[in-house]
């Protein structure tokens, strides 16, 4: 576990999110949603926003952003909502099965197996 996360100063998180504690929980940004920058950081932009834009020059999953930024996923979601609203990032949603008993196709699972066996 990263000790830095656990020792996180709540004031810092408060500042980063502008005091918003709203958990963006509508399912639109999940842990493996890929975030892609659509523009470069601009002068005067909040530093976390600018960092996200730099990291996401390569499509990056929300969970990886959270680890890179050393911020809880909930905080990253709030920052991403700002950036999505501003149109400077886009989100690519993974193909997921929404019904709990939906299974991936045998073809997809074959590819997963082949990939694993190459490890």
């Amino acid at each position: 576990m990263s000790p830095r996360l656990h020792d996180e100063n709540p004031d810092r998180l408060y500042t980063i999110t502008g005091g918003r504690s709203r958990v963006v929980d509508d399912g639109s940004i999940d842990l493996v949603t890929l975030i892609v920058s659509e523009s470069e950081p601009s002068a005067g932009m909040q530093s976390e926003h600018a960092r996200i834009l730099r990291i996401c020059r390569r499509p990056t999953a929300v969970v990886e952003l959270s680890a890179d930024l050393e911020l809880p996923v909930g905080v990253v979601r709030i920052l991403l909502c700002d950036l999505l609203d501003a149109g400077v990032v886009t989100a690519r949603h993974p193909r997921t099965s929404h019904s709990p008993d939906a299974l991936p196709s045998p073809e997809l699972l074959k590819r997963v197996l082949l990939g694993l066996q190459k490890l």
Binding site: M1, S2, L5, H6, S21, V23, D25, G27, D30, L31, V32, A61, V63, E64, S66, A67, P72, V73, G74, V75, P94, T96, S97, P100, D101, L103, P104, S105, P106, L109, K110, R111, V112, L113, L114, G115, L116, Q117, L119
Partner: protein, 177 residues
């Protein structure tokens, strides 16, 4: 990967992941925890839970994410989030503390998430596989494999067992009208 404290979840995620060891935190307001949680306090206290994750690039288009989450009942809200869109789960079992896995198995069955059980090698097992299946009340179709989470090849074999299990389920579903 789910299971009780100290069962080897972090070890397994790290031994197969291609990226540096990572963990992060999910925050939930208490209000989001749900009605089952009898300990939930009314109001908006924030709960933070750490979880592990790892990544395996399978081919040009496919990336597999691995998540390690604590198996205790009070964390189930985190699982629901991690399990959305998941392929399946590995329940890690330490045979000295079998009861730590009961809740996880129950929840996965209830949720309809396919899973395999991996008996982690913490010295000579005290139970036969048959006894372990009994103790876990494991349905016959759920695979039970042995592993040593510290070893990459062994952890990889657990993932292969899970995907083989999923393949069998998926294939059966496609061929049954």
């Amino acid at each position: 990967m789910v299971g009780g404290f100290g069962v080897g979840k972090t070890t397994m995620v790290r031994s197969v992941s291609e990226i540096r060891p990572l963990s992060t935190e999910e925050t939930m307001t208490r209000a989001g925890i749900g009605v089952d949680d009898t300990t939930a306090v009314r109001g908006k206290t924030t709960t933070t839970v750490a979880f592990d994750f790892g990544r395996i690039t399978l081919d040009d288009e496919l990336v597999l994410y691995l998540f390690g989450a604590p198996g205790q009942e009070r964390f189930w809200f985190l699982w629901d989030r991690l399990f959305a869109g998941t392929l399946g789960a590995v329940v890690l079992v330490d045979t000295r503390r079998v009861q730590d896995s009961w809740y996880a198995i129950d929840r996965l069955e209830h949720h309809g998430t396919p899973f395999v059980v991996a008996r982690n090698n913490f010295g000579a097992p005290q139970h036969s596989r048959h006894q372990l299946r009994d103790a876990l009340d494991l349905p016959p179709h759920v695979p039970l494999v042995d592993c040593d989470a510290r070893r990459r090849d062994s952890s990889k074999a657990v993932l292969v067992a899970l995907v083989n299990h999923l393949f069998a389920l998926s294939f059966a579903r496609e061929t049954t009208p």
